[in-house]
């Protein structure tokens, strides 16, 4: 045990002496939370729009006012003619142009319907669809009001939509769990594989293997500090999410920590597995990044919903640990779900952990038994 502790102490010294490691460990998660939370928004605020009001009547004035009054839009231009639409888009200050037809008020009064054109900037598809959705909602809202006024006493079906779990559709509800998921796999898999491969590359692994330390002690000793630091990291991220965005953990914190530990363990065993397969640090970084980070980012459902993907990607994403962990952490944090709702995902993570541990243990023993070179 004393031998083991001397070894673990050395690993901590490595980490604390290398400020780059610390930056990766604590700086990047903090920055990501803030960037994703504040800058990368999937919701809409103060998008510039232009209005071409050919009607100049009561209805168009009221609609313009409604659009302006909402926090989603800011009317940048009041255009005079169709020719001005194109330059307004090219200047890049507006995301959409709303065109009221000349006979808006009258045709609405006489025929009971009218058409408002929305032209959105299709060069940014996501924003474009948000803008049209929001605009349509505002206009619908207005026309529903009109209907009620006109058809007094007539039954009208009103829709009342409520976003469960996330009433304001805040994007950080999605990003905080996502960032935790990604950061953990980055720290655990990438950093452990690099730290182990570094010993091989510098030739110190040889010396350690000749020492009385048992191979498993070397591996555990190398990853134990990262286990500990990852856990601290998660707690820091959760606290940040809480204080900066006011995002509390709805479910059991104990359950969340336990699931996180499992996920960290899985990441570490993947890291160990990678380290047992490569000889050079660059390769370890390359594999961890390309095979783990990128697919995790794209396919875990953290940014792009898996439901919208072609079926094949759905299957591919199933072998990615982050996909399952995102589900778990989202359920606990946002929905307040208990273990009964996430046992399946948990089981999958357990199986993956056991699989990678067994695989690396086998590789390690084979390597020891009949050494290469």
């Amino acid at each position: 045990m004393k031998r083991f502790m001397a070894f673990v102490k050395k690993e901590f010294l490595h980490i604390f002496r290398d400020y780059r490691t610390l930056i990766i460990l604590f700086g990047i998660p903090a920055a990501q939370i803030l960037i994703f939370g504040y800058a990368v928004r999937t919701d809409l605020t103060n998008a510039g729009i232009a209005i071409l009001d050919n009607a100049r009547d009561e209805v168009s004035a009221e609609l313009t006012h409604k659009l302006e009054a909402s926090e989603f839009f800011e009317v940048k231009y009041n255009l005079g003619s169709y020719e001005e639409i194109d330059p307004a888009f090219k200047q890049g200050k507006i995301k959409a142009a709303i065109i009221f037809p000349a006979n808006l008020g009258t045709s609405l009064a006489r025929e009971g319907n009218a058409t408002v054109s929305i032209i959105a900037d299709g060069s940014e598809p996501n924003t474009a669809s948000l803008v049209t959705a929001y605009t349509t909602a505002i206009i619908n809202d207005y026309s529903a009001q009109l209907t009620r006024q006109v058809s007094q006493g007539m039954p009208v079906i009103n829709q009342e939509v409520r976003m469960y779990f996330n009433p304001n559709l805040e994007s950080y509800y999605m990003f905080v769990p996502g960032v935790i998921t990604l950061i953990l796999i980055l720290i655990t898999a990438l950093m452990t594989s690099v730290t182990i491969v570094r010993e091989k590359e510098f030739g110190t692994m040889e010396v350690l293997l000749v020492s009385p330390l048992k191979p498993w002690q070397i591996i555990i000793g190398k990853v134990a500090p990262y286990f500990f630091l990852s856990l601290v990291n998660v707690i820091v991220i959760l606290l940040m999410a809480w204080f900066v965005f006011g995002l509390p953990v709805k479910g059991s914190i104990a359950l969340l920590i336990a699931e996180t530990m499992l996920y960290i363990l899985l990441g570490l065993s993947i890291g160990i597995f990678v380290s047992s397969s490569v000889q050079k640090m660059e390769n370890a970084i390359f594999i961890s990044f390309l095979a783990l980070m990128l697919p995790s980012l794209l396919l875990s459902g953290f940014i792009f919903p898996i439901e919208n993907m072609p079926k094949i990607y759905d299957y591919v994403s199933m072998i990615l640990p982050p996909r399952w962990f995102v589900e778990i952490i989202r359920s606990i944090m946002i929905k307040g779900a208990g273990f009964a709702y996430i046992w399946k995902e948990t089981l999958i993570l357990v199986i993956m952990t056991v699989f990678f541990m067994a695989l690396s243990a086998r590789k390690f023993n084979v390597r020891l038994g009949e050494g290469e070179k």
């Binding site: 001397a6 050395k10 002496r17 110190t204 040889e206 010396v207 293997l209 020492s211 070179k373």
Partner: protein, 247 residues
């Protein structure tokens, strides 16, 4: 010679990798306090033999005893030996003292045991001032000497040096060999492999391996006499050349 205590006994050691025989019936003894040179061209089977002696690999057959312990119990062997390889073995981002404490700790020494010995060692290597310096700030020669000092810090019975002086300047090599002599005089057996044939002359006895077999084993002087050569280098070229043309 016969009266001396044997610290390594190898009898009929065979190591096979599939159909390839890396070590073909090796037999030799190494005595306590001896400097035992292990020579051979690349691929002659030196590294395989050292790995077995260090407990990293198991013999396919034959009997190997290191520090009185059978090779079937490598964990016990590992506690009693020291090891240093040609590839640099100290941690560059740790200080001199931290490296010493780490290796002392790994070999089961307490801080109480480590501290006085560390001071003694730093004084002896005359860099008492540098205990808090990072390894990477030290010149290469000094690092290599320190790596050796660390390899024998826990007073092992045998220290294995795998090409310890490759890539080191002649002056440091000289000082390195002085340290080896000093270590041997403390009763620690030194088992060293080298590429430098002049270094072979410094050994008490040398073994030359070729194609998995031991082709010569004796004192340098006796070998030179036996084969009628002036230097070990000549001798080496004469007997350890891989057979390219059958005679």
């Amino acid at each position: 010679m016969m009266e001396k205590e044997k610290v390594i006994e190898v009898k009929e050691l065979v190591k096979r990798f599939g159909s390839f025989v890396a070590n073909d019936h090796l037999s030799f003894d190494v005595y306590k306090g001896e400097i035992f040179g292990f020579l051979g061209a690349n691929g002659a089977g030196k590294t395989t033999a050292i790995r077995i002696l260090c407990g990293l690999s198991r013999p396919s057959s034959g009997k190997v005893t290191v520090a009185g312990i059978d090779a079937s119990r490598p964990e016990e062997i590992k506690k009693r030996i020291g090891y240093m390889s040609q590839r640099f073995s100290l941690y560059e981002d740790l200080t001199v003292s931290e490296n010493i404490e780490l290796y002392g700790g790994i070999y089961g020494m307490t801080m109480k045991e480590i501290r006085p010995r560390r001071e003694q060692l730093l004084t002896r290597l005359s860099f008492i001032q540098q205990g808090d310096m990072l390894i990477k700030s030290l010149p290469l020669g000094l690092r290599q000497k320190l790596a050796f000092a660390v390899a024998v810090f826990h007073d092992p019975e045998i220290v294995f040096l795998d090409e310890p002086t490759s890539g080191v300047d002649p002056i440091t090599r000289r000082q390195f060999w002085e340290m080896i002599y000093e270590t041997a005089s403390r009763g620690i057996t030194v088992f060293v492999t080298t590429h430098y044939m002049d270094e072979a002359e410094y050994c008490d006895r040398i073994t030359i391996m070729n194609e998995g077999k031991i082709v010569a084993l004796d004192t340098p002087a006796a070998l030179r006499e036996k084969y009628g050569t002036q230097t070990i280098e000549e001798l080496f070229v004469k007997i350890a050349r891989p057979k390219t043309v059958t005679s």
